[in-house]
């Protein structure tokens, strides 16, 4: 399989996406997703990183059209899916699938492993019993749930955490999607199991040329699995860059803070923040949501949101004072 040239049209294009939720009382709104734009190439993994409550899951759910955008546009493979309904939506769900954080909660406790797969396979491609059986075997083999004959008859509670996540992945693959949203797929698993799941996802990406939105709060795994990393804070993208560049040379003060706080970053100095209040998600807020915590913030920052600016090939940042800009190294 050959790699797509970089200039190929992206599989997923998100433009100025806004998702708003009413607060109690219904007169005021929060915007956990606020004017977010990005693309995901075919066969590309975009890692979405941010602290809890920053809007990662909401973005993922909106991309899969479990939620409907309040404003903005989502197109996948050239089709605008922002407000599709009914049969169109059902068809779209075959292209795009989700893997959840808690595999147990996403599985049906009274269904066997094979019964989790029969329905999506039938629905997707019909077929007689033999061909469905064969596909189930192939899928289980593919996700490492072997020996196949034994696992087929098991119930979710008879599987380990890692095996359950493998089953959830097999089920997502059963409809042969092009695009997967993996929402913290390893964070509930034991440390010794996580690498295997990440390896499996990487293998699937290569074998099927799958695109991923990989949602995580962990920069180290984002660097490992993501081709690019997008850093989200209070519903706003702060910075987006190829994974390596973002870790080696972060530009946004929030990215720097996250990096400094991540274990293994070998930062020994104090955290670069002046306060640690949780962010304001209200629609009425003005300015950069990170300004109250930011050491570089000026009145400009509290008065208006800095626009997303392209600063190098494939690198953009939304900051009036990205102090490291001067040290941007050309991409190798």
């Amino acid at each position: 399989m050959s790699l797509e040239p970089l200039a190929a049209a992206p599989l997923v294009t998100v433009e100025h996406l806004v998702v708003r939720f009413p607060l109690r009382g219904g007169r005021q709104f929060i915007r956990p997703v606020d004017d977010v734009s990005f693309t995901i190439g075919s066969g590309e993994v975009l890692a979405l990183v941010g602290e809890s409550g920053s809007g990662k899951t909401t973005i993922g759910r909106t991309l899969l059209r479990i939620l409907e955008p309040s404003f903005g546009r989502i197109s996948v493979a050239g089709t605008d899916v922002s407000h599709i309904k009914g049969r169109e939506l059902t068809a779209y769900r075959r292209q795009a699938q989700m893997i959840f954080q808690d595999p147990f909660a996403s599985l049906n406790p009274v269904k066997t492993v094979e019964n989790h797969l029969v329905f999506p396979i039938r629905k997707h491609q019909g077929g007689n019993k033999e061909s469905v059986d064969q596909l189930i075997d192939d899928l289980l083999e593919r996700v490492g749930l072997t020996p196949v004959n034994e696992t087929r008859k098991k119930f979710p509670h008879e599987l380990s955490g890692g095996q359950r996540q493998r089953l959830a992945i097999a089920r997502a693959l059963a409809v042969q999607p092009q695009f997967l949203v993996a929402d913290e797929p390893i964070s509930m698993l034991d440390v010794s199991i996580r690498a295997g799941i990440l390896q499996l996802l990487g293998q699937l990406k290569r074998d099927f040329h799958l695109s991923f939105l990989y949602v995580t709060h962990d920069l180290a795994s984002a660097r490992y699995f993501g081709d690019r990393i997008m850093v989200l804070y209070a519903g706003k993208i702060m910075e987006s860059a190829p994974s390596r560049d973002l870790i080696r040379n972060p530009l946004h003060p929030y990215t720097k803070l996250l990096l400094a706080a991540t274990p293994g970053s070998s930062t020994r100095h104090r955290l670069p923040e002046k306060d640690n209040q949780p962010p304001d998600l209200s629609e009425a807020r003005v300015g950069c949501p990170f300004a109250p915590r930011c050491l570089s913030a000026t009145t400009e920052c509290t008065n208006s949101m800095p626009p997303m600016t392209v600063v190098a090939p494939e690198r953009s940042v939304a900051c009036y004072h990205p102090d490291a800009l001067i040290s941007v190294k050309p991409l190798p």
Binding site: E51, S52, S160, G161, G162, Q163, D190, V191, S192, I193, R194, A195, G196, I197, L198, Q199, H217, D218, L219, A220, S221, R223, Y224, F225, R244, I247, L257, L258, L259, A260, A261, T262, P263, G264, S265, S266, R270, L271, E273, N276, P278
Partner: protein, 334 residues
């Protein structure tokens, strides 16, 4: 002056749960010494026995668990020989514990300062309420929480603030030992890091010892000076944390496996690998070395004979490969 007597000594400690099918050995023959003013890390996957050991040290075992073997000494005193009154005094004053969930400790219907005041009044009968309140404010200052939050109820505070308050309460009576059981697991990394910085600052002031329990390998390697690695209720390795930053052959195979399994921020071209299989169920433990079904080096000996921890270049490692007398068995594996 900081005394050089160990704050905590675990001597061949075993803890079991009673179950209909017989005792379940959750902690087996564990040894450890913790000196004042140090942080020792305890790493293990879920179910490996970390919390059981922690509550065992505090003598707070629940759910049919009891100490079946060994001794636990805090500042030289055997925790399991104390009468109820001494024990009550010992908890909080000599040893305290920070649980993963702040709500295990905080009372949802009392304000933060009421709860703090209560801790002082319960342990310092002569103290006036005003004095207890002053001390509570000083504690809030210590963990950098504005005094006005003393009037808040727990649900009005963020997860990070609640955990800071729990840490403040754990430090209230200046204990020599603080056991922290995954104190930051539920928090965001930035909050986690600022709490850890604070623990280190406070330790510089007060010289308490910390047993820090976590499943986060990178975090423990960074924070602790020594690390115990637990698997299926046993310490398979106890080592200086410095050696844990680079993967090398000189560790227990499980430690090596863990080191290879985690993506690290700065190791760009390193491919991670999971450990095959999954952690064992204590009820149906494998024979011999409990790790042998997952171990790339395992030889027939490992399936029948359990390796005892032995000293190896300053590390304690429980693996036949590190036993000169057994090494011959491994000559054909790399």
């Amino acid at each position: 002056m900081v005394s050089e007597q160990p704050v905590l000594v675990l001597r061949d400690v075993s803890i079991a749960y009673d179950s209909p099918a017989g005792p379940v050995q959750a902690v087996s023959h564990v040894n450890l010494e913790l000196m004042p003013n140090t942080i020792v890390g305890l790493i293990g996957e879920s179910g490996s026995g970390k919390s059981t050991l922690a509550t065992g040290i505090m003598r707070l075992l629940r759910g049919g668990a009891h100490l079946t073997h060994g001794e636990i000494l805090i500042k030289g005193q055997n925790v399991y020989d104390m009468d109820a009154k001494t024990l009550r005094k010992f908890r909080w004053e000599a040893m305290s514990m920070v649980f993963q969930s702040a709500m295990t400790v905080l009372n949802p219907v009392m304000t933060v300062e009421q709860q703090m005041v209560d801790v002082f009044l319960a342990h310092r009968p002569g103290m006036s309420k005003a004095e207890a309140l002053q001390k509570s404010y000083a504690l809030l200052d210590l963990v950098r929480i504005a005094r006005k939050h003393g009037k808040s109820y727990p649900h009005e505070l963020s997860g990070g603030m609640k955990q800071r308050i729990v840490i403040a309460i754990a430090l209230a009576l200046d204990p020599a030992l603080v056991i922290m059981d995954e104190p930051t697991t539920a928090l965001d990394v930035v909050v986690q890091r600022s709490i850890l910085e604070q623990i280190q600052d406070l330790q510089q002031e007060r010289h308490f010892a910390v047993l820090f329990i976590s499943h986060d390998f990178s975090l423990v390697a960074e924070l602790a000076s020594r690390v115990a690695i637990m698997y299926a209720g046993r310490f398979v390795e106890v080592t200086e944390s410095g050696g844990l930053t680079v993967s090398d052959q000189d560790h227990h195979p499980y430690t090596q496996g863990l080191m290879r399994a985690i993506p690290r921020l700065t190791h760009e071209d390193v491919v991670i690998e999971g450990i095959p299989g999954h952690p064992p169920d204590l009820v149906t433990l494998p024979t011999g070395c409990a790790y042998h079904p997952r171990c790339p080096y395992a030889v027939p000996l490992c399936t029948v004979e359990r390796p005892e921890p032995r000293d190896w270049q300053g590390r304690l490692i429980a693996c036949h490969r590190f036993d000169p007398q057994k090494a011959g068995e491994f000559s054909h594996v790399s």
